[in-house]
């Protein structure tokens, strides 16, 4: 299937019902439909409202600290001995990850919609922290749902959320991870739909979320495009980003989508290896289905039950993926690959040692694949990797794996 990705085609992706080809849509129970329709209508209006855009841009500049630098990782490049590796430094954003770009945007929407309460789901805790942060600033009540297992492995972020005034609710149903946190957030929303805004952290969920999260995160790719042109006088040859739900990847990819010569690589969590079944790589090893309000690639068994996933990184430990990625995969515009726990951990150590930059374990998956890819490319070629978050939150996990007891 070949789709010409010109501006006209892209303007209709997603279509008015939120479909990216066969993916996306709005598969939720009836109670939520009116809220989704209201959100869509308000978003379409505000998106073109100069006041809203100005406020968003101002917050990104003065509160988040944008633009984030595009850093030439000279030492990593030399070590690998191939294409030039640039890092888009989303780890330098306020709160330490790309997630805040989206929560700033959605909290503004909540404000314009007059909703005094926000809820969020979180895996690694980055989106939870970013939501709690904007809630503190805007004086909104904030409840964050987090899988009980993730509460354990991301204790630092749980405490950060509490310091920010948010209530963290551990979710003990199902597999006790991100997917169950999302189920619980949807249950909260259906119950408190009148006064509550649900800040979804990734480019998944029912329409219009995949679209609006993509739009808010696209600042990453817009900046990277200009910065690469400034530094290299041309566009990059390849983009690399990790994919859990896929918001940092979508944010980097989207502004390059019409540039057919820019290759895109989304790196999924290979866990213990794709052949073991213990991973979180629906695009590499799953099939299309319906979960959490959208049709997309999923990890499911033959009976359509969603499978437990595994990844070293809580933020990638999710059985679904944003519907636009599913579409980009099918039409061949983006490539989806995987990196194992071991490869990600090794990349974590390498980047820390050679560049003095400690990446989040999520982003370490992208670093791992970029190193592999750079080695296969020419020295005059350029790769931009989205360094989506910083690794402080993962120190416990890394120490445990290295057999060190921190506290």
């Amino acid at each position: 299937m070949t789709v010409r990705l010109d501006a006209e085609t892209l303007a209709n992706i997603p279509d008015e019902r939120g479909h990216f080809g066969p993916y996306g849509g709005r598969f939720v129970s009836e109670t939520l439909m009116s809220s989704l329709l209201e959100l869509e209508a308000q978003y379409e209006k505000l998106k073109n409202d100069p006041r809203f855009q100005e406020e968003f841009d101002q917050d990104l500049a003065d509160y988040v600290g944008r633009p984030s630098p595009l850093y030439f990782a000279e030492h990593l490049t030399r070590k690998v001995g191939g294409a030039k590796i640039y890092l888009k430094r989303e780890d330098l954003n306020h709160t330490g990850a790309h997630k805040v770009n989206n929560t700033i945007g959605q909290a503004l929407l909540a404000k314009y919609l007059g909703k005094p309460r926000i809820i969020a789901e979180t895996g690694a805790g980055q989106h939870g922290v970013a939501s709690a942060t904007v809630a503190a600033r805007l004086g909104l009540e904030c409840v964050v749902y987090m899988g009980a297992e993730d509460v354990q492995r991301q204790a630092l972020n749980v405490y950060r959320m509490k310091l920010l005034g948010a209530t963290v609710k551990p979710v003990t149903s199902g597999t006790r991870t991100l997917k169950d946190a999302m189920n619980e957030a949807l249950r909260d929303w259906v119950t408190n739909v009148d006064d509550t805004f649900y800040i979804i952290g990734t480019v998944a969920g029912p329409h219009p979320y995949p679209k609006l999260v993509r739009d808010f995160q696209s600042v990453i790719g817009r900046e990277a495009r200009l910065q690469c042109l400034e530094k290299e006088g041309r566009l990059p040859d390849a983009l690399v980003a990790c994919v859990g739900g896929g918001s940092n990847a979508m944010g980097l990819f989207y502004p390059f989508i019409e540039d057919a010569n820019v290759k895109m690589y989304g790196v999924e969590a290979g866990g213990h290896g794709l052949s073991t079944g213990q991973h979180a790589a629906p695009l590499c090893a799953g099939r299309p289905g319906v979960l959490h309000g959208n049709r997309t690639y999923l990890m499911e068994d033959d009976n359509g039950q969603i499978m437990a996933t595994h990844s070293i990184s809580a933020g990638l430990d999710y059985p679904g993926v944003g519907p636009e990625h599913s579409w980009l995969k099918d039409i061949g515009r983006a490539n989806y690959v995987s990196a194992t726990d071991e490869e990600a951990l090794s990349a974590f150590h390498t980047l820390t040692r050679v560049e003095g930059i400690m990446p989040a374990l999520e982003s370490s998956h992208a670093i791992a694949y970029a190193m592999k890819l750079a080695g296969e490319m020419d020295r005059d070629q350029v790769i931009v990797v989205n360094l989506s978050g910083r690794g402080d939150k993962d120190i416990h996990t890394v120490a445990n794996l290295d057999g060190i007891d921190l506290f």
């Binding site: 019902r17 129970s29 009116s34 009976n303 359509g304």
Partner: protein, 267 residues
Amino acid sequence: MSRITSCLSALKDAGKAALIPYVTAGDPNPSATVGIMHTLVEAGADIIELGVPFSDPMADGPVIQLACERALEHGTSLRDVLNMVAEFREKDQKTPVVLMGYLNPVEAMGMDHFIEKAKQAGVDGVLTVDLPPEEADEVVPVFREAGLDAIFLLAPTTTNERIKSAVAHGSGYIYYVSLKGVTGSSALNIEDVSQQLTRIRSLTDMPVGVGFGIKDAESAAAVSKVADGVIVGSALVNTIAENADSSESMHEKVKSLIGSMRSAMDQ
């Protein structure tokens, strides 16, 4: 006329509301389900909603989530559920059976294959919680052709425009979700329900079943005064869970809960 439509119209002629219990198939174990279905009918059920267990029941509260988990621990699949319906039909050709669940297990089986097998098994209607009318354009005609009723949900938040769309797509009955929340939520407000039903009835003649928040004979009786059908789920599933250790007392308690609702509704 479908089995559901003729059942509801006969009740209407008799001046009665339908009692529609929900149980999760495979809970507490797969071999118990058909027996429970027969007990429900004996106790006065008119239509049975049989839940298809799903790993991620987003619209359900803790009671039905746990029922799904128990059923899935026993490996209950959609195919198993269809076999249960077929077994139920060996003794009962009269009581309509509606499958209620989420879209993914149906799609994993393949929609066309599912419809064919559901028809063969003796299923009468299908309610897919996460399939709103606008995503159902393609499947509704296939359901119609197979003689299966597609049942859609309405909620307190549903606009008049969407009511019209649900009615145009659906058949059999409309399931009105009495409150904003998940299954097993606190008690419904009968005044609100009554007002909403007046609004819905101004837009359609289709029978309306009301569910969510009906937990005992009293709430069932109150709802039966305003609705065509009374749907009871979590209270029943909870009764099954609490008595799962003894099949005998489970059937007794189920019979007593449903029986008390039946008599309160018919008074």
